[in-house]
């Protein structure tokens, strides 16, 4: 290096053939005078001082509070009814079912309830589970999406992620994995009890409870839509906890196998341990009568699903829906709160600005 100096600079400045003798254009290394290179890009420089941010705070406050009130009112107009049918309580009709659960016998119980207010529009019927950690890491992963998408190879060779619910008795499980294995399999039936005591079943629509994309894109039966599911699934085993194989989930061919909507809904793992999943939709019949008028109802439960082992709860939820979804007053409250805080801070800033801002503006440079 000691001797390396010579010409190092020339090397930098050297442009082979860049210049001829006298007069030829000389290329120098002079940087271009462009806004970008000289870092003079157009820019907006906001300076945050009490004075400048004051309006923002007030504006936010003034906008948020009405929105919040609107949301709150909307949410309060949504009617919702919840019924816990876990049967932990001795008095509950389902107590027996919950206590002596075994997979072979089906246990049935019936609960009665009444609605104080009529449910006007379409009513969504949910089942709700509590303390069910569908979001457990290993649980969430325990599925094979390609199998569910109708991939023949995955049907025979399910993904390793499905372990330990991958194979049963050397047969691949379809659908494999813990999620499918633990599918909710209670059957809920709703009856309206006439004022004169007669039970009238309420028709529950099971079509359209899953996302359209799930039903038509993400989930597919192997071997195309019209093939015989029994033959397609013949080399597979049913999930351990299931009573029936997957091709017997429903009689309707459009709702059987992997594209059974209850199954699809279940496979969409809930985000939080307490969750509800759409079970059925009660369509509004006509404009004259409410979908669910005031009165007494009964819920007939085929109690299959055990939740006692993890202190879980099972609920049936009836809810109408608004443009913003289900009943949730929180968002409205949040808006009102944030708006109020903004407004309050705005006042504080106004005070600060009034008291200190002027001082600073006059001597801001040198003080």
């Amino acid at each position: 290096i000691m001797a390396s100096s010579y010409g190092a600079k020339e090397e930098d400045g050297h442009h082979p053939g860049s210049a001829g003798l006298g007069g030829a254009a000389i290329r120098t290394k002079k940087p271009d005078n462009t806004a970008f290179k000289q870092q003079r890009l157009p820019a907006w420089q906001p300076i945050l001082t009490a004075g400048t941010v004051l309006p923002a705070f007030f504006i936010i406050g003034l906008i948020f509070i009405p929105i919040g009130i609107g949301l709150y009112v909307t949410s309060n107009n949504i009617k919702e009814f919840e019924l816990d049918y876990t049967g932990t309580d001795m008095s509950s009709p389902c107590f027996n079912c919950s206590q002596s659960w075994n997979s072979t016998n089906t246990c049935k119980c019936e609960l009665f309830f009444s609605l104080d207010q009529p449910f006007e529009s379409n009513v969504f019927m949910y089942y709700g589970l509590s303390n069910f950690y569908q979001n457990h890491r290993r649980y969430v992963k325990s599925r094979d999406d390609s199998q569910l998408n109708g991939d023949e190879r995955s049907l025979k060779e399910p993904s390793k992620e499905c372990e330990p619910y991958r194979t049963n008795e050397n047969k691949p499980i379809a659908p494999c994995g813990a999620i499918a294995n633990s599918m909710f399999n209670d059957t809920l039936d709703l009856f309206y009890i006439d004022p004169n005591g007669k039970k009238r079943p309420i028709s529950l629509t099971k079509k359209g409870i899953a996302w359209w994309t799930d039903k038509h894109v993400k989930f597919r039966n192997p071997g195309g839509s019209n093939s015989n599911l029994t033959t397609v699934f013949k080399d597979t085993a049913k999930p351990v906890n299931w009573h029936k194989p997957v091709y017997e989930l429903d009689v309707d061919i459009e709702n059987n196998g992997f594209i059974n909507e209850d199954f699809i809904v279940w496979m969409r793992t809930a985000a939080l341990p307490t969750f509800r999943k759409l079970y059925r939709i009660i369509q509004k019949n006509n404009d004259m009568t409410p979908t669910l008028p005031r009165g007494n109802y009964s819920l007939a439960v085929t109690y299959n699903y055990p939740v006692r082992s993890f202190e879980g709860r099972k609920r049936m939820i009836l809810s109408t829906i608004s443009w913003m979804g289900g009943k949730n007053p929180f968002l409205g409250i949040a808006y009102i709160t944030v708006g109020s805080i903004c407004f309050f801070l705005g006042v504080v800033l106004l005070f600060i600005h009034h008291k200190y801002g002027n001082r600073n503006n006059s001597s801001d440079i040198a003080s």
Binding site: I1, M2, A3, S4, S5, Y6, G7, E11, H14, G17, G20, L21, G22, G23, I26, T28, K30, P31, Q38, Q39, A43, W44, Q45, P46, I47, T49, A50, G51, T52, V53, I60, F132, N135, H136, R137, Y139, P164, A178, N181, T213, V217, K218, A271, L272, P273, R276, F310, L331, A334, V338, C342, L349, I352, H353, N360, S362, S363, D364, I365, A366
Partner: protein, 1499 residues
Amino acid sequence: MARETGESGETKSTKVKKHKRRKSKKESKTRTVHANILYDHTKGGDNPNRHYANNKIKTTKYTLLSFLPKNLFEQFHRFANVYFVFIALLNFVPVVNAFQPELALAPVVFILSVTAIKDLWEDYRRHRSDKEINHMDCLVYSRNEKQYVEKYWKELRVGDFIRLRCNEILPADVLLLSSSDPDRLCHIETATLDGETNLKQRQVVRSFIDLVSFDPFKYNSVIECEKPNNDLNRFRGYIIHRSGRRDGLYKDNLLLRGCTIRNTEEAVGIVIYAGHETKAMLNNNGPRYKRSKLERQMNVDVFWCVVILLVMCLFSAIGHGLWMFQYGDKRPVFDVLSPEGTDLSPVVSAIYLFLTMIIVFQVLIPISLFVSIEIVKICQVYFIHQDMELYDEETDSHLQCRALNITEDLGQMQYIFSDKTGTLTENKMVFRRCTVAGVEYSHDANARRLAMYQEMDSEEEDCTSHGGTLPRRDSVTSHQSGKVVLRSQSTKSHRRTGSRAEAKRASILSKHTAFSSPMEKDITPDPQLMDKVNECSSQMEFMRFHSQPLNQIPPDLCDIFDFFIALTICNTVVVSSPNQPRQKVVVYYPPGQLGNFLEELDELLSKFPEDGTPLVLLCDFRLSLTNLQFNRPEHDLQHAFSPTPPNFEKTKALAQDECELRYEAESPDEAALVYAARAYKCALVGRLPDQVTVELPHLGKLSFELLHTLGFDSTRKRMSVVVKHPLTEQITVYSKGADSVIMDLIRPATDDCKGKRQRKILYKTQNYLNLYAADGLRTLCIAKKVLSKEEYASWLQHHLEAETAIQRREELLFESALRLETNLQLLGATGIEDRLQDGVPETIASLRKAGLQIWVLTGDKQETAINIAYACKLLDPEEEIITLNADSQEACAVLLENSLHYIQAKFLCNPRPDPQAARDYAGIHFSSPVCSPASSGHSSPFLVHRLGLVIDGRTLAYALDKSLEDKFLAVARSCRSVLCCRSTPLQKSMVVKLVRNKLKVMTLAIGDGANDVSMIQVADVGVGISGQEGMQAVMASDFALPRFRYLQKLLLVHGHWCYSRLANMILYFFYKNAMFVALIFWYQFYCGFSGSAMVDQWYLIFFNLMFSAFPQLITGTLDKDVSAETLQELPQLYMNGQNSEEYKPYMFWMNMIDAFYQSLICFFIPYFAYVDSDVDLFTWGTPITTLALFTILLHLGIETKTWVTLFFTVALCYNASCPTCFSPSNTYWIMQKLLGDPIFYLLCVVTPIAALLPRYFYRACQGTLFPNPVHMGRQLDKLPVDMRRIFLSQSQMKLGSLGSLFAPRAPFFPLCGPFQKDYRPRVKQTHMSGTKQKEKAIANPIPSKSMEMRDTPLSSKNSDNHITLNFRMQEEVQSCRQGSDSPLPENLHCVKEPSSPITGTLPYTKDTPGSRTILDSTGLEAPLSPTDLCQVELLTSTPLLPQTESMQLMSPPRSCFLGQKLDDEDHSNQKSLLKQAGDVDHTHSTSCLQEHSLKTTFL
């Protein structure tokens, strides 16, 4: 010094030992070198030299094969990389894996490859430079061809004979065996090694001295020498001849690699050390890996991140264990068994979970931070490169960032260590003006000429057509024409001609003669003086012709004559001709013919294609022709007219036209003086050991018999020659030296008439000297003495005794010189300018305002250094200077002790803080009441005082000793400026190291020469000036600047930007990652601590790497908190970076807390919005991700100072699109679904606002309640331009004073800057009135500050001034009292006492001009009362001249009694004082103000 080198020698020898042990155990302690030609090269098996390293150098790290493994290995030294790889690998373990293993590997691979590519590129650059060096040519003796053949450097081997020609660079360490020089000397220039541009002599090995021509085949000796080591100043060994005779070898015999042969046509040597074993290479330790301060700080916080991560993981693991535990044996359906189907106990599963969590939370450790920082830094480097203001048109070079990873350090500098010559100055000594016999010759034309150069510098010269093609040698011939000569044309032209080889040669050629740029040589004579010279010489000729005694010439003419003779001969300048080799003149072309030929050539040349090589050849050819043209006729002329003695003929060099003579001087000012004399036709044409030949107008060539040369030494500070005058036949002594010493030796003649005149000359000259010094000129006094035959004889006798003495020879010679140099007669004085580079004082002032401490470390001598320091405003005339000169360890200890006490007594223990210090403090620190308590001044116990410290190399060596370094630092850091003179390269680096390590500050070293290399490498940031002295400094530096003044913008603007950008970016990264990870952490509470994440794994992994990093990269590169203009105008803003205000430790935690808060908001608002709903995992997770991104982006928006439109578009587009991209099938359609959901939008509005509310509010409050300087700078930016200017000018003033900005200006500012300027001219006024109108003649054409001052019409009755002066005096009295009360007054001036351990503490002293001007204005003999004296002292401390105040640690101790008396002194009588005068030199010693004491120079 000796001690120090001894020490370093020891360390080196241990190093060598280690080296040896590693290399080969068989090798003995010495190296034996045989000549290679005795052995067959091809077989080499029996060649005893075969074990030695060859001359090929390789500084690259990798080879093609070893690159991948080695680079990976090195990258894994970085802890972060290991960590990330570990995590990626962890993903392959099924039990703990969180993501798809391949996906997890992606970021690590990305990061490793980015770094690898960068390393590869850097290594390639090194490889290229190595290759270039290895392929340089040299002449090696070939055994087969029996002659010297050209070979590449890399083919050179130890034991080879090489022939070196003039101007060649030494390829290896070579033992000099033969030289064409008649004295068997070889001159080398060691600039690339130590930066000294003077020539050094090396001697042929003693036993070969008598050989006329060296025949390699006759060489059969063996050389035994020491092992390769890095001590440049040591070489020991011996050469064993066939006869068995041994001759010692010394460092004088060794030519070192990298030096350049000068002035010697040809030399032959044998290679002793080659390649990496050369001393130069051994000295060159590889560049230190520099890690910026910010990065160090960051690493601490990365560590904290790790801790946070572990805590979080541990928390989760425990939580998971408990969660598992609560279920007991009943396994819930959702608790999936392990893949093997086994049941995991809570504990085991907690342990597994711990590892899983590390993977999930890995984002917390900002993996992309390191890469992002590198990318941002590269962008920053790019922008710095592109800055137009850092581009130097003259050299067509711009700033080079050689280190890519420390840009932000530029914004945090606290100490600057600067080289002087070549860094602050241009390293061009220019004769500016002189005074002869008391008459000043201002050389206006000369000054104009210099100004013209300056203008030329600024204009881009377009005159490339003709001159541009001529290499430099040409311009040498035209030096006397005084017309415009292209500066630095050589390198430039060659760059344009295209050939690289030629460019290289040109750079070598341009170094051919040191100190000979046209600017230095083409001195325009002062017409007045010129006339006198002509008159004088014609008279002399007349008298000689008429053989009249010469002493009838008027004395002033005689003085002029002597003056120029002294300039010409009183030096050690060697004369040579520029064209080497010199004997090539064979053919003679008639001039006309030649002219035609040249024209033809020109035509030919212009037709030539741009391809360089043939052109170059032609150029050379043409050149040699040009030379011929000039050579030939002169030859004839000389023979015809030369009146020189016959022995003159023996040197060919003298038989040349004087136009072509070139002066090779040891010091640049010698050359400057000789060139100056030549401008007056008094040209030095030849120098022989015993004779100097001078050509004079009318008189022709005169030969002076050189009887003795008493060389310069730093103690005497002068040199003398004793000659026999050819005209008068008198023995004359000509002396030249520092004014401080020469003036003491002047003794006016005793007889009345003559004595009076001489005394008058003395006073006048002194005045002018002061004036010169005030202008920052280097002053030299010229004196002569005529010895009678008897005097000479008696002196000669002593001198011969001294010369022949065996013991104490040096001492005796010194004494002998002292005996001779007495009773001198003053001839005149010269002012030489080492021109400061443009803008140096302004840069220094502004850097200082920015709170930077500037130390100058120079190899120059003390006087020069101080002069320059004044000129570049490093030292202030009002500053006191503490000079530390000691020649023993003990003395140094005492000196330091005393200085410390002095400083304490003066500044610290003073009940009333010294107002100057206070003012200084206010001036240095931003006087905002908010920021000043935080500024360094308060936190440090050492206030920086208005003090300058000057220390010389020898003392420095003692002071750097372990035992004293703390004291030295304590003294040094209390001084505003520190000047280390005569320091060696090693010392420079030691000083830097000391300051860096002990004070824990950020240091920047700037220098241009190879002697600065070590310093540059040691400092946190090394800056090289790509100026005159080779490229060594540049190669070692982190940044290379074309000029010193660019440092201002580099530091203040780019440094600030880089720092604030990076600091903000790093903080933001931490925040962003913590915020993101915390989201997942909160989620763990709702998923049984199972390590589940609601965020898709793609988001999770690429979030850090891409989504959020990209906008930040743009802000990291483009954000601008304050505009460049404001930053430069308000240097105080730089302190922001110095105090690390953008990134303080607590800020990390603030950011963390903010991140946790924001993540809580971002988590729980969606949580409550979706709780107990049918939302699925990712449908819920995606809004959270989106919210988080919005929040993070808006956060960035708040933190961003400038919303560059580019940032807007890119960042927003990118981020708006990213939530929908990268959706694997799992999250299919979620986003689309969400986009139709109003809640999503509602969430997106409320959450970020809620999350950012506190920060926004805090920033707003901060902006109003406690704005920091940067904030104000930004506000300033928003003002319209004219308003801003007003504000700035006001604030500048404000910074000087403590008063309110908007208050009406006080009638007088007792403590602020303007006042000082005000009273300055006043003293000058008196001074002017004293010197009558003659002063007017000394009009300085270049408007200097003092000139402006002088022009201001300030009457001495200005009341403001009065008051201020009084004020000042009171303070002085105060401090004086303080001094008397201090317990150690005696120690302060204890020096020359016999009992004192300090033997020679010669402080730098100059005559106090203030007092002298006063004296001059009135009579000389009036007594001065002590009181008045004290006031005189006060006045002398006013800044008329740079050197007024110097603290002298001098003898003898005196009590300070005047302070008390002065107490009740009526201050108003000070006006009368100005008219009073006294014999100061007798009375001043009683001064109470020791530190202001005058040096007695009056008789």
